[in-house]
């Protein structure tokens, strides 16, 4: 079966503490795959194994990540390194790699640079009804972050990418 590199497929990935969320787009507002890859034990190695499997399965032409290198980013060292490794891995496969800051995501999805991740997730669920059933309920302050949140972070990166690269009329 022909499995050539699919031009135009965009994979948005958002690494988090217990794995990563991913969303695959075929076009603006057209998600064709999404999920949360959970990892235990050697989390970074497991995440990279799952990430490589995704690239082999879908052969996207571009990878979208959040800019964790920014000084304002509060991501842990392991996740920053993981994002950097994913970036290098995609570069080695001749993929375009684009990074967007959290402010750019907030502006593109919610028109608010300081939007919370949950507000962004709600805006994503409004725009992409296919993902609505995955939206976690609002987190109580004593609860830990729902794993599905990183799926919405990834989808928001995809929306940001299409919003910022859309040709201006």
């Amino acid at each position: 079966m022909s499995r050539s590199k699919a031009a135009g497929l965009v994979l948005a990935v958002h690494p988090a503490a217990r794995g990563f969320g991913w969303a695959l787009f075929e076009g603006e507002m057209v998600p064709v795959g999404w999920g949360v890859a959970s990892a235990k034990g050697n989390k970074s190695a497991e995440c990279m194994r799952r990430f490589e499997k995704l690239l082999n399965q879908y052969r996207p032409s571009a990878l979208i990540l959040e800019n964790f290198a920014k000084e304002t980013s509060r991501r842990g060292e392991r996740i920053r390194t993981l994002a950097q490794t994913m970036r290098g891995f995609a570069n080695n496969r001749d993929m375009d790699v684009l990074v967007y800051s959290r402010e750019e995501v907030g502006t593109s999805v919610c028109r608010n640079t300081k939007a919370t991740r949950y507000a962004v997730a709600c805006a994503v669920a409004d725009r992409l009804p296919l993902l609505r059933r995955e939206l976690p309920r609002p987190r109580k302050y004593w609860e830990q972050k729902d794993d599905r949140q990183c799926l919405f972070d990834a989808a928001a990166l995809g929306i940001t990418h299409y919003t910022l690269t859309r040709p201006r009329s």
Binding site: M1, S2, A6, A7, G27, G33, G35, L130
Partner: protein
């Protein structure tokens, strides 16, 4: 759909909130077989293609576009060679066959343009 993925089985399953075991039991296959069909490490069987159409209401050209186009391409190649053989004939049966073969080739070129 612009059809950039080789298979949309995973997309349709997620769209309707079905888990892999849910879909596997609907299709009457094991979970691991369904997983292999989904990531195209196994060619979809006739039961799977028809089952997917029954469940999701989408034809094989929408659920398994890569597989569909591989078969379509092979048929078009064979149709072209038959056209070359029939072109010199003038009897009515040959004319009818020629018309069908030409339609096959035109339909295939139309679906290629739609992609």
């Amino acid at each position: 759909m612009p059809h950039r993925l080789p298979s949309y089985l995973h997309t349709l399953r997620k769209q309707w909130g079905l888990s892999q075991p849910d879909l596997a039991s609907l299709l009457g296959v094991t979970g691991s077989a369904q997983c292999r069909f989904e990531n195209l490490s196994r060619r979809p069987s006739a039961e799977l293609i028809i089952g997917a159409e029954v469940i999701f209401g989408h034809g094989p050209n929408e659920v398994f576009p890569a597989f569909y186009h591989d078969i379509e391409r092979a048929i078009v190649d064979r149709a072209r060679s038959q056209v070359a053989r029939l072109e010199s004939r003038t009897d009515p049966a040959s004319r009818d066959k020629l018309r069908l073969l030409t339609e096959i080739i035109e339909r295939a070129s139309q679906t290629t343009l739609d992609l």
